[in-house]
């Protein structure tokens, strides 16, 4: 703890964020000193930053450090931060190959990625609406640029532009919501907002409902809830695949952390007001995500719709609320992060410049040329589909168990049925890989050792959590116990 306390106790709560931010700055600096064409292990700097952040999170665990009155590093937030650090670490491992393939500017890539991560991590522990907004903008701006990083490609620029315009629009909604909340509560701090809502029982106040609705729209944009999901498939397709894996998981983690804080804590007394809205959002998101996914032939778009559907399951957990709902969000985020990054990483690692491996047809007979990659992708897809004994099953089970426990049978039934629909398109990929004849001249995939190790580790984690989830379940349950 000595190194931490040097910074002074008020800084404690933001040490993990600081580590990542400094690593991002270091990356920028390194890039400035890099000769053209020189190879420099810039990713390593990010690794150091993430290791520092991870260590700081573990040191802060259970201490509930508060900084400046607007950051509370409670276990819930730290848990999400840990998930984010894990996502960042996995992404770093897969990045070098993607950077080589698309000749991306390495320094900027890593710096932007780390800044995005820092923004998200800040969001996970922020307890003030303004700070949440700042964090949201930090990571959003970084992601807009990352999405359009393949500058020579039209589609990439187009996707990034769409994402930027719609994202900016949603940020405005969110900001407006904050303004209304401030107008009513006289504060943007979540605890004060909560006590105001509690004390005045303002449930009938139309202004409060407007504020709540605007906040909801802003967050729903970020988690790609239907009908605010329009940007998702385009942005996911446009971004370099590794970045897609990163943003499909990390954004959800950060946004759901805020979602839980704002709605399950600050606005919990208004549950009767927002519950129907969330119910409709969840149902629409699950149905649209899985049904439209069926029609996709591009893998990245397919997984984009799949991640929309998974956002729907997370909304179910949110709607269920209570400790079980919150804990199931945490568990789901871990499993979803490992699984989805894994799936996108397989796509990214398989793709070459000539053969991007983004359409379904390119996966014909992959089993014959690259059996290991096919098996790994299958495991990730089965986990996304929620098959036991993978972690995806336990995660879904936990979410639906929370929903049933809260009496939300409708959500649970729609959830399980849509997950059957989504199994259809996950299996389409499996069919292509295993049950079609091999393509002519398909070369075995070659990928760097660390990437293969990381993918195997992810698959092993999925089986471990699928068979022995107890520890993580208990940890998640304990993390939400002391939220406020």
């Amino acid at each position: 703890m000595s190194s931490v306390s040097i910074l002074g106790p008020t800084l404690n709560g933001i040490v993990p964020v600081l580590c990542v931010t400094l690593a991002g700055l270091a990356c920028l600096l390194a890039e400035a000193f890099r000769q053209p064409g020189e190879r420099m292990p810039i990713g390593g700097l990010g690794g150091i930053g993430l290791a520092g952040a991870g260590a700081a999170i573990l040191l802060l665990w259970g201490r509930r450090a508060e900084s400046f009155g607007v950051v509370t590093a409670d276990d819930f937030g730290l848990f999400v931060q840990l998930v984010l650090v894990g996502i960042g670490a996995l992404t770093l491992v897969f990045s070098p190959k993607a950077i080589d393939r698309d000749t991306l500017p390495a320094g900027e890539y890593y710096a932007l990625m780390l800044f995005a991560l820092a923004g998200m991590m800040l969001m996970a522990v922020a307890t003030d609406l303004l700070l949440i907004f700042l964090a949201l903008e930090v990571f959003s701006l970084a992601l807009y640029v990352l999405t359009g990083l393949r500058r020579r490609e039209c589609a990439s620029t187009e996707g990034a532009f769409k994402y930027f315009v719609l994202g900016g629009f949603s940020s405005a909604f969110f900001l407006y919501g904050i303004a209304f909340t401030y107008g009513l509560a006289g504060s943007t701090r979540l605890d004060r907002v909560a006590s105001m809502v509690q004390a005045h029982a303002l449930s009938g106040d139309p202004l409060l409902l407007v504020a709540m609705g605007l906040l909801l729209v802003g967050l729903a944009f970020k988690v790609a809830a239907v009908p605010f999901h329009m940007w998702t498939p385009d942005a996911y397709e446009a971004a370099p695949t590794v970045v897609t894996g990163f943003m499909s998981t990390a954004v959800k983690a950060a946004a759901f952390a805020v979602f839980a804080r704002v709605f399950l804590l600050a606005l919990e007394p208004l549950r009767a007001e927002w519950m129907p809205v969330l119910w409709v959002l969840a149902i629409c998101t699950m149905i649209l995500g899985s049904v439209v996914g069926v029609a996709q032939t591009n893998l990245k778009r397919m997984l984009a719709y799949s991640s929309i559907a998974h956002g729907g399951y997370l909304l179910v957990a949110l709607a269920a609320g209570g400790d079980a709902g919150r804990a199931s969000i945490l568990f789901y985020l871990v499993v979803y992060a490992v699984t989805n990054i894994g799936a996108f990483a397989v796509i990214a690692m398989l793709g070459t410049r000539e053969q991007p491996m983004e359409t379904l047809d390119e996966y014909k007979g992959l089993w014959h040329s690259s059996p290991v990659m096919a098996a790994l992708l299958t495991i990730f897809l089965l986990s996304l589909g929620g098959f036991p004994p993978t972690a995806g099953f336990v995660a879904k089970w936990y979410v639906f168990s929370a929903a049933v426990g809260a009496g939300q049978f409708g959500l649970a039934v729609v959830g399980v049925l849509t997950s059957v629909v989504s199994v259809f398109f996950y299996l389409r990929i499996v069919v292509m890989m295993y049950m079609s004849d091999a393509r002519e001249g398909a070369a075995p995939a070659r990928l760097p050792g660390p990437a293969l190790a990381a993918l195997s580790l992810s698959a092993a984690i999925l089986f471990y959590l699928g068979v022995l989830p107890t520890r993580l379940l208990d940890l998640a349950a304990r993390s939400v116990a002391g939220m406020f």
């Binding site: 639906f400 059957v420 199994v423 349950a477």
Partner: protein, 516 residues
């Protein structure tokens, strides 16, 4: 009692074997004989363990034996709990009996990716045995769903022409049913939590739980639909012809021999005893569907030009008998149902193997392509004959015992249904014997059939054990009936408690109640 984890060994052994198979080196042989022998060895060892379990089984006890309980996810009261009673005992033995035969039966027909094939077969065996042994509903559901994946790959990779369609249809159909059961399972767990303050997924704890009648209706429906799809009960049977026909021989054997029984086992073990009031209410409707399935399956089977499809539809008919026996919910009916599950596994498994042997030789399954086989391959035809008779329920062979008990039980419950169902016995004789006659009798009309080889040693090893079983189960049924009686009595007694609520179907003839 000394704690020997027999049941866990049964579940784990094939899985460990499957994983080890992946590590076996293939030294560039064209066919992976090492892997085949290793897989066969594992499955035989598994069979030996299952016999050991049988030898340790106390036939006088109605409750679960060799129970193992370990806390698995304590915060939700989920346990790793396995146990065996008289009902699951023989289903486990049947699974362990059929798997080596299925592996041996596809020794030559599966020649690509043998390692993966054996892996999926053994993984499937693990999951199936897990389903039969689970005493915790979470564990049960895990095995129930996990079982689909290996079967999906078996059909999709090693199947016939329309294998992909069949595989996807199979998995989606089954999943659609089972996810609703998942919601029902979660609901009961939360009811348990509301009643006692703690979550539990333990089967026996659920038996003790009083579920309101109205809630039971929904829960029973969710369970029953999942199981009815698996059985498959008319009108949920449409996945079955596709899956059975397109699956490789080994897949069909396991699918028909074991997996269909999961549905009837589920009805008997879970849906009926857990929700007795609802079961009593819905039993007549299920029985009507079962009888429709018996007649419909038989009629459709009769006109099939494809032998495999004929056998597949005959399964719809035979499983209808099983469901009828369960819905009768008296000792004869239920015993007959369990017995018929075993019979069907033996005789239909053998039929699929025989059809597989024919199509290995001629690459066609059309009845019209054959004819006069008894002149060319007398050994196979003899085996075919015994199995055909067993399938149509000739006294002295296994099929008779099961069907007789079921009809007896059904008659005591509802004579009208029993009468209609009995016509299924006649119809089964019609379609099976007609098929047998067209394939085996007459002159050899197709010159391609002239050079067909009779059974070789390997195939004899596949078929003879099955024939021996068919005869043994026909002449010595008490060997199997005695151990299952206490467990059957237990379930029937539980259902009898819910008896007063029993509703007789509107269309049932007068006098039905007096027969109870």
């Amino acid at each position: 009692m000394a704690v020997v984890p027999v049941l866990s060994a049964l579940i784990v052994l094939p899985l460990v074997g499957a994983v080890l198979l992946l590590l076996v080196r293939n030294r560039g042989h064209e066919r992976d004989t090492v892997v085949q022998w290793a897989a066969l060895g594992v499955s035989l060892a598994e069979f030996a363990v299952s016999l050991w379990m049988w030898s340790r089984f106390d036939a006088a006890r109605p409750d679960f034996q060799m129970v193992e309980r370990v806390d698995w996810i304590p915060s939700f009261g989920i346990q790793y709990a396995v146990g065996v009673d008289g009902i699951s005992l023989f289903l486990v033995v049947l699974t362990a009996f059929l798997t080596p035969l299925a592996l041996l039966g596809s020794w030559r027909s599966v020649h690509t990716k043998v390692r993966e094939f054996s892996f999926f077969m053994l993984a499937l065996e693990s999951a199936m045995i897990g389903v039969f042994l689970s005493l915790d509903m979470f564990l049960f559901y895990v095995f129930w769903d996990a079982m689909l994946i290996p079967m999906y790959f078996l059909i999709g990779i090693w199947g016939y022409e329309r294998r992909v369609y069949a595989a996807v249809k199979f998995i989606l159909y089954t999943m659609a049913g089972s996810v609703l059961m998942l919601v029902a399972i979660l609901t009961v767990a939360s009811l348990h939590s509301a009643a006692t303050g703690a979550y539990s997924f333990s089967y026996e704890a659920w038996l003790a739980l009083a579920v309101p009648r109205h809630t039971q209706m929904w829960l029973f429906l969710a369970f029953a639909v999942a199981f009815a799809i698996k059985v498959p009960l008319f009108p949920f049977h449409t996945w079955l012809p596709d899956a059975h026909v397109e699956a490789p021989t080994a897949g069909s054997v396991i699918l028909a021999g074991v997996m269909l029984k999961m549905g009837t086992y589920g009805l008997l073990r879970f849906a009926f005893p857990l929700f007795p009031d609802a079961a009593a209410y819905f039993a007549p409707w299920l029985a009507v569907l079962a009888v429709i399935g018996i007649v419909y399956g038989a009629l459709v089977a009769m006109v099939q030009p494809d032998m495999k499809k004929l056998v597949a539809y005959s399964s719809v008919s035979h499983l209808g008998f099983v469901v009828l026996g369960i819905t009768a919910m008296n000792v004869q009916g239920v015993q007959g149902a369990v017995y018929q599950m075993l019979n069907h596994g033996v005789s239909t498994g053998a039929l699929f193997l025989i059809v597989g042997m024919l199509s290995d030789r001629r690459h066609t399954r059309l009845i019209s392509e054959y004819g006069g086989l008894k002149h060319v391959m007398p050994g196979l035809v003899a085996a075919f004959f015994v199995i055909t008779l067993s399938s149509i329920g000739l006294p002295g062979l296994n099929g008779f015992v099961g069907e007789f008990l079921i009809l007896l039980g059904a008659f005591r419950w509802n004579p009208a249904l029993a009468a209609v169902a009995a016509s299924g016995v006649i119809l089964s004789a019609v379609y099976m014997l007609w098929m047998f006659q067209r394939v085996n009798y007459g002159a050899v009309t197709n010159p391609k059939n002239e050079g067909m080889q009779d059974l070789d040693t390997r195939e004899k090893f596949v078929l003879w054990p099955l024939i021996a079983m068919a005869v043994f189960m026909g002449v010595a049924p008490w060997v199997f009936l005695k151990p299952m009686t206490p467990a059957v009595n237990r379930i029937v007694a539980r259902m009898a408690e819910a008896g007063p609520a029993k509703v007789v179907p509107v269309a049932a003839p007068a006098g039905t109640e007096s027969s109870r």
